[in-house]
Symmetry: C2
Subunit: 335 residues, 2 copies
Amino acid sequence: MPNDVTLDDVARRSGVSPATASRALNGRRGVRDDVRERVLAAAGALKYRPNRAAQNLAGGRTSVIGLVLGSDELVGNAYATSIVQSVAAAASVHDEGLMLILDSHKPAVAVQNLLSDGIVDGVIVSVVAIGEQWVEELLDANMPTVLLGAHPRRTDVPVVDVDNLTAGRVLTAEVLAHGHRRVAMLAGPKSRVDANQRLRGFRAAHEELNIAVDESLIFQGDFNGQTAYERASEIFAASPDAIVACNDEMAIGLLRYAKEHGIAVPADVGIVGFDGIAPRYPEYEVTTMAQPFDRLGSTAVKSLLDLIRGDDVPPEQLLGPQLIERGSIGSPLEI
Amino acid sequence: MPNDVTLDDVARRSGVSPATASRALNGRRGVRDDVRERVLAAAGALKYRPNRAAQNLAGGRTSVIGLVLGSDELVGNAYATSIVQSVAAAASVHDEGLMLILDSHKPAVAVQNLLSDGIVDGVIVSVVAIGEQWVEELLDANMPTVLLGAHPRRTDVPVVDVDNLTAGRVLTAEVLAHGHRRVAMLAGPKSRVDANQRLRGFRAAHEELNIAVDESLIFQGDFNGQTAYERASEIFAASPDAIVACNDEMAIGLLRYAKEHGIAVPADVGIVGFDGIAPRYPEYEVTTMAQPFDRLGSTAVKSLLDLIRGDDVPPEQLLGPQLIERGSIGSPLEI
DNA sequence: TGATTGGATGAAAGCGCTTTCACAATGGCG
DNA sequence: CGCCATTGTGAAAGCGCTTTCATCCAATCA
């Protein structure tokens, strides 16, 4: 056992009852200052560490939250990876542990385990996992849950997401502001709310300027860079002035194709992406709408903790994205 | 509370004592078959889920293992990401939960928490976290631990790693077998055991063929692709026949430079990498020595569970890597 | 048939903590 | 100077489970 000194030991050493020791250690009020210090000192000297299982059993809280992701999504999926990172960081800020639950080959067992008391106090479910049926099961259970990314149907679970509509609108407006008029859209999966919102934003930006959207310039994508690369010839064949790709992976797929086929960006065609992960590929300079990953993670964690505590949580929290200019639709505009 | 039906409820419903119910549910022997079935049925009907905190407190096991990583290592670090993925998968196979511990801004608290009983039964520490002093603290504590990747100094903790020496030797031998003679090495950080072993393998392969290693062709790298890209001109200026990069990121950095400067690969120079993550970059076809991530994760998890159970674990388990031929040192050799 | 074994079961004792609850002790007030 | 809040403290009751330990009964053996 890593740890064998108990609260009783601390209590005995500091000459108080376990009850008082517990109160002192947990910062409860109603303990004289000198007593509290004595207890703290004893705990330090003994290297006392509370037994979390016992705390949990007695107190009801675990201080662990779960993060649920689809499994094959992690490797090579910059979005998912960023989410893990930011949620982990946020959890750590709140002194919460983080259980990582990837879609396993034993979903039933995973859910079963998760729903047991004493394992996690609540879960954050990433949009990349939504659709898995075991996740549905999880949502139906009476477990505090926050969705990271909107769900196509469930509106009964609080959502934290980037404001995809605005993001799509602003990004497209930026493209239009550079003078591009034939703007193509490489959309994301139809099942994804974020993809749809971005598309709506794309249309909205056009409407604002009274520019008609050429429906033949809207291409169905799947958020996958390789697929985008493979469809690139078709898209370029439509000779758009610029292309709005619904995420950076697809934008990079297009850029790769352009590079390999002597298509100049932004001279021949402008290309923009989404998510803000493109900067990780230094050879592809692409203007992008960055996800506020840090705030996404911290907001989700904070909301979940509120939910666990029983506080009210807004049904939908949309965070502002940030435009990252990297010159792939032309030089930055003067203001 | 997600869950409010207790073992007592199950016991009562099936007309047995809680003791028997517990035994039945946990597959302990000494329960008549019909009784066991009755209990199982009752548990199913009641949707009973054990309270893990209570189980843990009474039984001593958590069924959760920890995975410790350096924090900034996750995003954009394919190696770390793959490790997370494979460990998560392996944990799930064993019905273990996975706590993810990234190097936080509160290392002390993190360690403190981790070492509490009832949080995790043991931890897997990835080589990418080694060096952080809080990890040292963790290793010194009496907590079952397995290292994923060798530690430069500590030999008191069981290690699971790829056989980097052999990997380096075989990969270099392959390069030499293609007829390359002036072979450069872009090494990894000197502080890393894996990097050093690969370099040793590089030398060993040369020795076996009685080829002298030109020390001026050994370049110090840092496992970073961008840095490799920036140093590429210097390396190519030494006009090697081929370059062994100590990981794929660096190999890709070199390839990117080559591509941009009209250096043909493998015609002008051969390039190979390490880790097997290159295939994720379809535009860069690079022969690589793949880490057996799946086995790495499963072996580490299995060893940790053995350790927790009190069984003996070999101090060092080296797994065989796999050569992935992708033509970046010339066409595959006939056999 | 009586003694002996062994398997199935239940009673009860914790695991280490938090938290009522009751009780002193203290201080403010009339 | 006595009375009521207040505050600090300890005793003890669980939290829900596992696990001895003792018990019971049927099966085995002499």
